[in-house]
């Protein structure tokens, strides 16, 4: 067994009785990290975070400390926490907000102190009302406890946190769309470069947008030091990573593992983790890092779960969502459902994404229904190429944000890895995977 006994940094309280309450949090050493942080200078905290080398846990994997270092030197500075988790099959931030909201509050405060923020906004996906309730309730407790607001714990540091609900739009997880949404507008991503939110963000002010899991690590980092965090994992992939395992495993769920020390095989087959593929079925393919990521075949089972090794295999660790699919899975249907999602969630600003998504969805649907042509395979790749020229990884971009380029990977992976299966749909005039068929009537997108 290769699973290490690394500490659980962000999940150790999940599942404990009333883990979302101040009493439970304080009983487990809660807010000690904030107290320690307030005794340090902001630069000292920034140094610790740089030493820890925390890669952003939202999907892009950019170093949090480096992001903080990009802040333009003007005031005010805002901190926005991205809790808009909507990447299909990703459900880790949902669990962290619902199960340990005080940890999120404490981490946000440490971050805000380090970057000199004047206000914190926690943007929580609107479809997570229980998470919003628990976070708001925890925040009320934290105000009363003196951890938020005026002169926190008697220090000279004062700041407010506002819990802000979204209203149902995947694109608002993209940080500039999130800021537009937080300004009370449609969630249209902003053009960048040149101006990233650290230079021009919320209300035009320098803004840091950090993911829920990213800042949830901060209390531990402050208490244990960046060196201890960086001692976990390997290379750039330091610390632990919360992996959301879904799909055809016996034991789906969130697992916090030391990064770079376990493999996909461990995660999927270890009896204490995924427990293997359901019903003794055969593993067909893995979506390794959220549905935007290129798929990996079973021959990649032994690569380690780290940012670098998954990238080296031609995909990405992304949001930490891992979806193994078994041999009963139709890859056309899987690609269709993923593309349908992106088409539905396209904000519509850029033609390749708005129109290309519709094309891909319609072509995939007709292939799946047995009405496709052999030339559809080339047509699909051609549309993919128009959305993301070269259909390579990392993807080239013809659009303002990466939503459009998130469509081709699942289409291209299916055609490249399972070309015969696509052709069978065409030649036999039906999907070879009955009876789990597409509904005759589909809801309008």
């Amino acid at each position: 067994m290769t699973i290490t006994d690394a500490p659980r940094i962000v999940t150790r309280r999940l599942g404990k009785p009333a883990s979302w309450t101040l009493a439970a949090y304080l009983a487990d050493g809660g807010y000690q990290g904030l107290r320690a942080a307030l005794a340090m200078t902001p630069d000292q905290i920034h140094d610790q975070v740089n030493t820890a080398n925390i890669l952003g846990r939202g999907g892009a994997g950019f170093e949090a400390g480096r992001k903080w270092g990009m802040l333009a030197p003007s005031k005010p500075v805002y901190l926005t926490i991205n809790g808009d988790e909507s990447e299909p099959a990703t459900f880790k931030d949902h669990a962290l907000i619902e199960g340990d909201p005080h940890q999120l509050i404490e981490g946000s405060l440490i971050c805000a102190y380090a970057i000199g923020a004047s206000q914190i906004f926690v943007y929580v996906r609107g479809e997570f009302p229980l998470a919003i309730e628990r976070l708001q309730s925890a925040l009320n407790e934290a105000y009363e406890y003196g951890a938020v607001g005026h002169e926190i714990f008697g220090s000279g540091f004062s700041i407010d946190i506002v819990v802000h609900p979204g209203a149902g739009a995947y694109i608002c997880g993209e940080e500039t769309a999130l800021l537009e949404s937080l300004e009370g507008k449609r969630g249209y991503p902003r053009i960048k470069p040149p101006f990233f939110p650290a230079a021009i963000g919320l209300y035009g002010a320098p803004t840091i947008v950090n993911n829920v899991e990213t800042v949830s690590n901060l209390p531990w980092v402050v208490l244990n030091g960046g060196t201890d965090f960086a001692a976990l994992g390997e290379g750039r992939s330091t610390g632990t990573k919360l992996l959301a395992l879904a799909g055809h495993v016996k034991r789906p769920g969130n697992y916090e593992l030391e990064w770079a020390k376990a493999t996909f095989r461990d995660l999927i087959f270890d009896p204490g983790l995924g427990g293997g593929i359901r019903d003794g079925n055969e593993l067909k393919v893995i979506i390794p890092g959220g549905v935007s990521s290129p798929w990996l075949g079973p021959e990649k089972l032994d690569i380690s779960l780290s940012n670098e090794s998954i990238a080296a295999a031609g995909s990405m660790a992304g949001s930490g969502s891992v979806i193994p699919m078994d041999h009963t899975t139709c890859v056309v249907r899987a690609a269709w459902r993923i593309v349908r999602f992106f088409h539905r969630e396209s904000c519509g600003q850029c033609t390749p994404c708005r129109e290309g998504g519709g094309w891909l969805e319609k072509i995939l649907e007709r292939v799946e229904r047995g009405q496709g042509r052999e030339s559809d395979l080339d047509l699909l790749m051609d549309v993919c190429d128009n959305i993301s020229p070269g259909v390579a990884w990392p993807p080239a971009q013809t659009t303002i944000c990466v939503l459009g380029p998130s469509m081709p990977p699942s289409v291209a992976a299916g055609i490249q890895m399972f070309r015969d299966e696509y052709l069978t749909h065409v030649r036999e005039g039906r999907c070879p995977f009955p009876p789990d068929r597409l509904p005759l009537r589909l809801a309008r997108v």
């Binding site: 700041i159 459902r337 789990d436």
Partner: protein, 224 residues
């Protein structure tokens, strides 16, 4: 027709006070309107526009971007069946088909008794308990066909009223203080929050979601 009632108007003003720019309160205020009326009415959106000094078209133009906002009445219970990849792999389309048969409506439709609106939803982030369903955005995981029927029966009989608040309710807990960093405004929202819970005692009772948290934790316990 429905504008914000006096209590919700107070809540809206408290929300506006939380942001450097008033317009940031737009989406939270639209949630208040939807909580009050079950959907967004023209008069309600006009009221929001007045409060924020926006044109009504700006309010509607913003609201229409977001899937959670409805511009026509929906059923008492908005039943959203996730059909995205993780749930699809666990038979979500079969479940959706069953839901259509059981409720007698297609996705987007509302039953003639006004009780249920059915939706074909995108990923709801409960993928460890696929397939999942939300009712007024409250989670129910590992829903098989029988489980769906039981859920409908429970809803009809009012057995889940504690766990499933009326459609549009995002949070049953309001903020207990205004902005406090300057040392000025503590307790500013007490007038509006008084009638509402500020630390809801029933937060622990959501059966499915709590079960999910435990299940995940059990997994976490196992591997060390």
């Amino acid at each position: 027709m429905p504008r914000l009632n006096p209590g919700n108007l107070h809540r809206a003003r408290d929300l506006i006070a939380l942001y450097p720019e008033p317009r940031s309160a737009l989406i939270p205020i639209l949630h208040l309107l939807q909580e009050q009326d079950g959907y967004l009415t023209d008069d309600g959106m006009t009221h929001a526009a007045e409060l924020l000094d926006l044109a009504s078209a700006e309010v509607r133009g913003t609201a229409s971007f977001y899937d959670m906002f409805h511009f026509e009445p929906v059923g008492k219970y908005l039943v959203a069946v996730c059909t995205n990849i993780a749930c699809m792999l666990q038979g979500a389309y079969r479940l959706l088909e069953h839901a259509e048969e059981r409720l007698g409506v297609a996705p987007g439709g509302t039953t003639s008794d006004g009780l249920f609106t059915l939706e074909d939803a995108e990923c709801l982030a409960l993928c460890g308990n696929a397939p999942c369903v939300t009712v007024n955005w409250r989670f129910f995981g590992d829903v098989d066909l029988q489980g769906f029927d039981d859920l409908v029966d429970d809803l009809k009989a009012g057995r889940l009223d504690q766990e499933v608040p009326p459609h549009g309710t995002v949070s049953r807990v309001d903020r207990s203080v205004g902005l406090a960093a300057t040392g000025a405004a503590t307790g500013a929202v007490a007038h509006a929050g008084a009638a509402r819970s500020q630390s809801h005692p029933d937060l622990a009772t959501h059966r499915s979601t709590t079960a999910t948290a435990s299940m995940n934790a059990a997994h976490l316990d196992d591997h060390t």
